[in-house]
C-alpha cells in the first residue's frame, strides 16, 4: 500500500459566528474571528489517497487527474469565495476548519475510484493551525 498526496490551495473569507448567540457571546467565544465583515486566509489542502500502484502505469491514481478532481469539486467552489455565504456544502454549518475538512471529505470521497481510497485530508489555515481528518465518525 502506498500513500500519495496532492496539494491544492484556495484563498477565502470566513468568520466564526453562531447566529443563535448574541454578538457579545460570539465575541467572547470567537474573539476577532467573529468580526462581522469577515477576515480571510490562504488555505492549503493536502489530499492523501492510498492504493497499490497499477502494474502498467506505476500509479495509484494519476496525480494530475487527482488534482483536476479536487479542483473541479472542491477548490473551484472555495477559491476567492466567502465560505459562510457562497459555498453550497457549507450552508447552515459553522465555518471552522474542523467542519470544513469533514465537508470536503464528504464531497470528495464518493468521487474517487474504488482503487484509490481517500486516506487523509489535511487543511492548513495558517502557518500555525491545521486540521487532519481520516473519515472517522
Amino acid at each position: 500500500m502506498v500513500y500519495l498526496t496532492r496539494i491544492e490551495h484556495f484563498n477565502a473569507a470566513h468568520k466564526l459566528y453562531n447566529p443563535d448567540w448574541t454578538p457579545e457571546k460570539n465575541e467572547e467565544v470567537f474573539g476577532r474571528c467573529a468580526n462581522a465583515n469577515w477576515h480571510g486566509h490562504n488555505f492549503e489542502l493536502y489530499v492523501t489517497i492510498k492504493g497499490k500502484p497499477d502494474p502498467d502505469t506505476g500509479f495509484i491514481f494519476d496525480a494530475k487527474k487527482l488534482g483536476a478532481l479536487v479542483q473541479e469539486h472542491i477548490t473551484d467552489k472555495l477559491d476567492h469565495r466567502n465560505l459562510n455565504v457562497d459555498v453550497d456544502f457549507m450552508r447552515g454549518k459553522m465555518c471552522s476548519i474542523e467542519n470544513l475538512v469533514v465537508a470536503i471529505w464528504n464531497e470528495l470521497e464518493p468521487r474517487l475510484p474504488a482503487y484509490a481510497k481517500l486516506h487523509c485530508l489535511k487543511l492548513v489555515e495558517t502557518a500555525k493551525i491545521y486540521v487532519e481528518y481520516y473519515g472517522e465518525a
Binding site: 468580526n35 480571510g40 490562504n42 466567502n82
Partner: protein
C-alpha cells in the same frame, strides 16, 4: 567603509478583501480583476517583512531594537488590519483599492513617521506564498 546593515522583522495578519473599482461596471471589474472582484470577499494570510537599513548604534550595536519595531508594527498595522475586512473595516481603503501594491504603500506611510529619520524603510508584503510586492522599489528612477 559602508557600515550600513539591514535588519528585518516578520509579522503577519489575516484579512478579507476584494478588488473593485467603483467607477467601473460589474462586467469591467470582473474582466480586469477576475475572481478577486467577487462580491462577498475572499481573504489571505498576509506576511509582512519590514526592512530597516542603517548604521548600528555605537552603544547598543542595534540598527533598531527589533522588539520595539515589532511593537510598533503590532500597534500601527496588525491592530488595524488583522481579522478585518480591508474594504469595509478600515479608513485607509475606503476609497483605495486594497491591492498588495496599495497595502504596501499604506503600511509604509503608517510606519515611516514613527521610525528614526536616518533609517531607510522598505516593506515587503506577501499576499500569497507566490505573490508579493516591495515598496519602495529598489530602482530609484
Amino acid at each position: 567603509m559602508n557600515k550600513k546593515v539591514a535588519v528585518y522583522r516578520k509579522e503577519h495578519f489575516n484579512a478579507a478583501h476584494r478588488l473593485f473599482n467603483p467607477a467601473w461596471d460589474e462586467a469591467t471589474n470582473s474582466k480586469v480583476f477576475g475572481k478577486c472582484a467577487l462580491p462577498n470577499y475572499h481573504g489571505h494570510n498576509y506576511e509582512l517583512d519590514v526592512k530597516l537599513t542603517g548604521v548600528p548604534n555605537a552603544d547598543t550595536g542595534y540598527v533598531m531594537d527589533l522588539k520595539e519595531l515589532s511593537e510598533l508594527i503590532k500597534k500601527e498595522i496588525l491592530d488595524r488590519f488583522d481579522h478585518r475586512n480591508l474594504n469595509l473595516d478600515t479608513v485607509e481603503f475606503r476609497n483605495l483599492n486594497p491591492t498588495a501594491e496599495n497595502i504596501a504603500i499604506v503600511i509604509y506611510s503608517l510606519l515611516r513617521p514613527h521610525l528614526p529619520e536616518q533609517l531607510d524603510l522598505q516593506v515587503r508584503l506577501y499576499e500569497t506564498p507566490r505573490n508579493f510586492v516591495e515598496y519602495p522599489a529598489d530602482d530609484k528612477s
